[in-house]
């Protein structure tokens, strides 16, 4: 996280997108520097590096998280 503001807009450096699916392991797409608008954010989580590194993403199958319904 490179920065944030009042409206929970967030600037992420070295960001990665993780795509979850039932058919294959987790696909990780490097994105680089991103500005994410606050209104598109559901949750910001602090990643425990040790746990994250211990997980083999290629073995994980999961449904994508459902979209927000207002």
């Amino acid at each position: 996280m490179a920065g944030f503001d009042q409206k929970s807009n967030v600037v992420l450096s070295e960001s990665k997108e993780r795509v979850y699916s039932m058919d294959e392991g987790v696909e990780e797409i490097p994105l680089g520097l991103y500005l994410v608008k606050g209104d598109m954010i559901v949750l910001i989580g602090e990643i425990d590096e040790a746990v994250d590194q211990a997980v083999d993403l290629s073995t994980i199958r999961a449904e994508p998280i459902p979209p927000i319904r207002y």
Binding site: S8, R18, Y20, G38, D39, I41, V42, L43, I44, G45, E46, I47, D48, E49, V51, D52, V55, I60, A62, E63, I65, P66, P67, I68, R69, Y70
Partner: protein
């Protein structure tokens, strides 16, 4: 209610349990030591311990019942109803 164990249900039907750390004016919520209910189906947050939830995506916050003073709330609503009736 800070430092209580709460469950937050999101508008994407995810439920997250954790220790409530703080709430701000937008009802953004900070949770510690989180667990996603139905973790088998949603392993996305395995490595996430603490998180910030945007107030706009929260549907419900489930509070521990024994920490809610219902008597106080009932008294307050009765008083308010009485005031409304007087006007």
């Amino acid at each position: 209610m800070v430092h209580q164990q709460v469950t937050v249900e999101l508008k994407n039907d995810l439920s997250i349990t954790g220790v409530l750390k703080s709430v701000d004016q937008f009802l953004n919520i900070r949770l510690d030591n989180i667990k996603v209910l139905d973790e088998a189906r949603h392993p996305h947050m395995m490595a996430v311990k603490n998180c910030f939830i945007r107030g706009s995506v929260v549907r419900y916050v489930q509070l521990p019942g024994d920490h809610v003073d219902t008597q106080l709330l009932e008294d307050a609503t009765r008083r308010e109803a009485l005031n409304q009736a007087k006007r």
